[in-house]
């Protein structure tokens, strides 16, 4: 469907920036640049929307199965072509655009940028950062979808915890969880996993390793509901957790809670990272908060599962009401190996609330 609220915001942005045309380019990986305006999962390798300042929409699709759904969702003109560049030429024929901006320009094939420049006689500019900033503040409709995605993440984790058992191989565990999440209505799911002990330094796609007693099994589940991703991170021990695993969990839990206690409109996201890292420092594990052992202390969520800004001490961004992000102090600790813990958080007027309902504990079988 056409995201009407975003449509109005993007038209306003075009007027403010004096852009004649605003293009939304998505490929199979970075669909969010397209879906922020027409929220539909296309099948072709790419799709592109041309929005003119007077509000007219033309969409180019490269798969015949996209033609009808996009026409129905956009209500505008839709062009089906085998090669996207041909569609660009057709859509822009006669366009007298002094300034064309592209949301997703960075991911666009260079030959398409060349075709665009040739057609319009002027190179396009990127609109990605400005559109991203608009997208960070979620609309009520988007928040509702994120709540549904978080609720599905909770149920997905429940399934995860129920099927974990010694002997189950990692990829079989993923198959069970994926099947459940899809059957319950997820469009997609981003999921990483790891299992083992202190030798485990990070998560990755599943291997054929069989779960064994004493393993920490970590996962981040990120179901996508009608385009929007919410995430949950939890750790589960096969059998009874050891004292060291429990001690590690206590640190992770305290760190995540520190982030949740701090997060409110106006707070610098660097501080959301800092308070998490401070808990590790306080416990003598400061070195495990750096890039050698961890990636980020959380990230924004939305139409892409790893949206910016990242929660890092060197990233400065003032949080705003109705942002949705995850705070997760996921890292390696010598106590337990890699461990994860995090909830999807909605920034409210005065603080934040977790959209997840899963128990905040170290799970075990």
């Amino acid at each position: 469907m056409l995201n009407r609220e975003r449509y109005e915001q993007f038209i306003a942005l075009m007027r403010e920036r004096s852009w004649d045309l605003l293009l939304f380019y998505g490929d199979g990986w970075r669909r969010e640049h397209f879906r922020c305006l027409i929220n539909l999962s296309y099948s072709g390798p790419h799709a592109l929307i041309v929005l003119s300042r007077n509000g007219e929409l033309t969409t180019i699709v490269t798969d015949p199965w996209d033609l009808e759904p996009v026409r129905s969702a956009s209500g505008g003109r839709v062009i089906l072509v085998r090669q996207l560049a041909d569609g660009l030429r057709e859509a822009l024929a006669g366009a007298n655009a002094a300034v064309t901006a592209v949301n997703g320009l960075e991911q666009m094939e260079a030959r398409l940028v060349a075709a665009l420049t040739e057609q319009l006689k002027v190179p396009p500019v990127s609109a990605t950062l400005e559109i991203e900033e608009i997208r960070r503040i979620k609309t009520p409709w988007e928040i509702d979808l994120l709540r549904k995605a978080a609720e599905l993440a909770d149920r997905g984790y429940d399934r995860f915890a129920r099927v974990c058992e010694p002997g189950l191989r990692e990829f079989e565990l993923v198959a069970e969880v994926e099947a459940f999440i899809k059957a319950e209505g997820a469009e997609d799911n981003f999921m990483l996993i790891a299992s083992g002990g202190t030798e485990v330094t990070g998560m990755k796609p599943p291997t054929d390793r069989a779960l064994a007693r004493g393993d920490s099994v970590t996962t981040e589940l990120t179901p996508q509901v009608n385009g929007y991703y919410a995430q949950i991170c939890r750790t589960l021990v096969i059998g009874e957790p050891s004292e060291r695993q429990l001690e590690a969990y206590r640190i992770f839990s305290e760190a995540q809670q520190a982030a949740q206690d701090l997060l409110h409109p106006g707070v610098d996201i660097a501080d959301v990272a800092r308070v998490q890292n401070d808990v590790f420092r306080k416990n003598g594990y400061g070195e495990y908060t750096g890039s050698k052992y961890t990636r980020v202390r959380g990230h924004n969520l939305g139409l892409y599962p790893d949206e910016l800004p990242h929660v890092l001490e060197n990233v400065h961004y003032l949080c705003k009401k109705d942002m949705v992000l995850i705070a997760h102090p996921n890292t390696y600790l010598p106590l337990s190996g890699y461990m994860v813990f995090g909830d999807t958080l909605l920034v409210t007027d005065t603080g934040c609330v977790s959209l997840n309902r899963t128990e905040r504990r170290l799970f075990n079988t």
Binding site: Q107, K182, A183, E187
Partner: protein, 314 residues
Amino acid sequence: MKRGLIAWDRARLPHAALEARLESIERVCDAHEVPALVVYSDVWRSNDARYVSNYMPYWNRALIVVPRGGKPILLCSLSPRVYPWIKSVTLHEEILPSPNLPAQLQKLAAERGWTRVGIVDFAGLPHELHAPLAAGSLAIVDVPRSAVRPAATQSEVAMHRHAAELARRSLANALGAEAIGVTDHVLAGRLELALRREGAEDLVVLVSDGTTPPVPARGARIGELSSAAVALEWSGHWAKVARNVAGLTRALPPTPGSTVWEESLSGPYPWTALAEPASAEQTIVSVQFELPARGARLYYGDTCLRGPEGLLPL
């Protein structure tokens, strides 16, 4: 997304087969007079990199650099914490952390004394990577994909065939009588379970209720006029198969006048509309039919080998 079993099955893809591909790339380097060839990869455009070194990203972008006379080098921005895993499923022994891929490639070239390199389908790179490379002092030679992957080999055809067999079998099981009345979400879940257990790395399920083309599941009930399409990646090789509950089929190769859409399954993207369907080279394609029946639209399609002698279902 690529959250299935990413592995290196050395029985199906022996080390020697990958070495032979690298030797072939060395000849491409010779032909284009470049000391190294570069292949781009991201989570949706991973086919070429997988071909070269068996590398498949579960996330993010990467460049594979194949130096003439040297071992392939992986430039990627994934954490060094996953390098041991990457090394266990690929040819790569050397991985360079590369938050900025163009800068890392330029640095590597400077260290090795390269003044030019070849990049496979340079114009196909994302603008963000292409622009700094095009503006840099390192000369770039645009090498066509066909030079690196001229035609599907027998072992590649066998992998696509296996993927197609998995897709056909899973659809046959999922679209039986017990499918009637369940939602398309449940159908998608059943296909996920079956195919991920078989080691599918990536999977896309699209469903038609007879009134629309196949689309992502939306909560519609499966009925007698429903069809489902499965695009499946197995060991880096894609298949796309569509079947319908009614069991309607269409002969392959298609007869003239059939409503048919043909896509390449061995291009840089998982599937791409064929610009020139009558390719002389062996290409793996998906052929999809829309079949009018009982006032509805049913779908049927399969994965085929297209070569000089026409279309051969796999």
